[in-house]
Symmetry: C2
């Protein structure tokens, strides 16, 4: 492992490796070769250009292409992945016969190259296994998520102070991004999947809350330009609008998700009532969200509450609806599990889940809430503690 890490991180990385190694053995794999940034950060505690080779038993090996000068136990410089087998042999290791690669993250051309590195091995998918492992946070990761959520929650009350009457959603979003960066966010918004993109988050004002997007976020928004059709649309903020602010925070490479609803003057009663229903749904899911709870049941619970309130038609969108009410978050904003209708996942202690019941009320806009929660035996604990009430401007 790389030198210079604090002891807590060192021992936490050992825990991550042992969890992944258990999963490797359960799948009958000899080793996993990691090559993409999200999983490198997870397995090595930092991003580098290179590879982590994790055998099903024993210590991982780190093969570094860049930057120059990275040192540590079982760390070696390489120019290309084809050097790895010889380096493993030199270390006295038996080469794998069944190797897992990141099928969902590697490009096809990368996969072709890496799957040829071990000439006697068959290559199979390691992405699902890594997503599963990453979904249950280790103690160090939980401490990072808590610190991130706490700093995230401290930024949100500042948003109202940078609002000025007559602003566009874009102008306000820029001031809020500025606050988040000033608070120390790295800004980088990592998302899994080629079809997903975004900047730091979205600000959905009025009817733009119901605008359909190509991306699989809870709500979309038309966006400012066809090259990035999501989020704020350049609309002027006017009286009676709900404005949903969903800006992620990334202080240490882990993302927390938190949405608050603002209103320009008072909102229509229907929108206020829907917001209240969203809070109740979030509360109900958080209470029911103990280890072992089925994700599809939690989604069904949300849908049932929305239906009871007569709000099924505008739950999670209008013409285009998100089919989930929550999702894991961590190194990427869309970690496992998904709290959706077809999920086969169950909750486990240590998962970090963004719960985001939202409604789109025609004439008002999007209302609702999102917080990041930690799954514990007592239910879900919020990591983003700040007042969920509508903030009237």
């Amino acid at each position: 492992m790389f030198t210079g890490y604090p002891d807590e991180l060192t021992s936490d990385l050992r825990l991550r490796w042992s969890r992944v190694q258990s999963a490797l053995r359960a799948e009958g794999a000899d080793a996993l070769l990691i090559a993409t940034n999200v999983n490198l950060f997870y397995a090595a505690g930092r991003v580098f250009m290179g590879f982590v080779y994790l055998p099903a038993e024993g210590v991982p090996r780190f093969f570094v292409r860049r930057p120059v000068g990275l040192r540590g136990d079982t760390v070696a410089d390489v120019r290309k992945p084809e050097q790895i087998p010889d380096l493993l042999r030199d270390a006295g290791l038996v080469l794998p016969r069944r190797i897992l690669l990141e099928t969902d993250e590697l490009t096809h051309s990368e996969w072709l190259r890496l799957s040829s590195v071990f000439s006697d091995a068959t290559a199979a998918d390691g992405s699902a296994l890594l997503r599963r492992c990453r979904s249950i946070k280790t103690p160090y990761e939980i401490s990072i998520m808590k610190m991130t959520g706490s700093r995230h929650a401290a930024v949100i009350p500042q948003y109202a102070a940078v609002y000025e009457p007559g602003m566009t959603d874009q102008a306000w979003s820029v001031e809020m991004f500025h606050l988040m960066l000033k608070a120390g966010s790295l800004g980088l918004f990592r998302i899994a999947g080629n079809s997903m993109e975004g900047f730091m988050g979205t600000v959905l004002a009025g009817d733009n809350g119901g605008a359909a997007s190509p991306y699989d976020f809870a709500l979309g928004g038309a966006g400012l330009h066809p090259s990035m059709p999501v989020g704020q649309s350049g609309v002027r903020l006017t009286s009676g609008m709900a404005v949903m602010v969903d800006i992620a925070a990334n202080f240490y490479g882990y993302l927390t998700d938190c949405t608050r609803t603002f209103s320009i003057g008072p909102l229509a009663p229907q929108a206020r009532d829907a917001h209240q229903v969203a809070l109740e749904i979030q509360h109900a899911i958080a209470a029911a969200g103990v280890p072992g709870a089925r994700c599809e049941d939690l989604y069904a619970l949300a849908l049932a509450r929305a239906s009871e309130a007569g709000l099924a038609d505008c739950f999670m969108g209008l013409a285009q609806k998100a089919k989930f009410v929550g999702h894991g978050t961590g190194i990427v904003i869309n970690e496992q599990p998904v709290l959706g209708a077809r999920s086969t996942d169950t909750l486990a202690a240590g998962m970090c889940i963004a719960l985001e019941p939202k409604f789109v009320i025609p004439g008002s806009g999007a209302v609702g809430v999102e917080d990041t929660f930690l799954v514990t035996p007592q239910g879900m604990q919020t990591l983003t503690p700040c007042d969920p009430a509508i903030i009237e401007l």
Copy 2:
């Protein structure tokens, strides 16, 4: 094509298709299936979740999964790519026998799925062909690049006004990001390649200009956190430091690249001299950069000038050096071609190239310049017109 486009875009898209179709025929391919955002934006004028099917002859077909409600000629909604063959048959088209897919952008799992969509077809790489086509901008793209460069250049003179003595590189970077967003930049910084990441750009102060990074940028910087080890490092700006500000602009989905060097008080003479050499190198490459010029020759020219000036050791980095002095830019920051030692590319009219000769002077920091240029028969024309001299703070 989708409805609602201005005529200039419509006719420009037809030009893009015809260029790609010529390349398809030259490669003996029957069709190209595009599924990732950068190429969707190039081929369809907007991002959507779905597919562009471009046959070697005839009109393209657009298959949309999301958002709901996209309409136009030869546009059809689909739930999954497996519906495409039937929809093509229904339109009277012959199915392809040799189909190109985005080998360098699709994940391996996406490639496996899409390569099975046409059961009688063999799949081959379309990424290189698309990169080649994208490297030569169309008239509409050139107009976008010009507008972007002009707006980009107008932001840079504002950077000095948000500097305050005693600031860290991070604090200043946040104020400059704010200015760029206030000017209307979308913020999104698209990069090709799994190993490449970044926020809006980098601010390299003092010795951090020479810090090695995992990413293949011209210069790196240690970064603020091991999860994103690139750029500003949290160092306080003190007298005698060179500060290299390299923040990209994205107003319309196309990126221009422009770097300016600032100094905290006066710089050491060696750093000032090296900056002057960088300006001369950029000028020499721009003059030599006519259609037909070989990229490796332009890089050799830069290296020769740096050597003549006795600055080869600190050209493009110290312990870790970038092996290029320029690169294409457009929808992604790292388009083709690369002006590097092993490039086999030649320039063509319509290419947009960021030229970035830079030196790292120990004790001072990074100096040099970067501008985005358009290749014309008269040489390279700058698209980011602003004073390249060191800006002393």
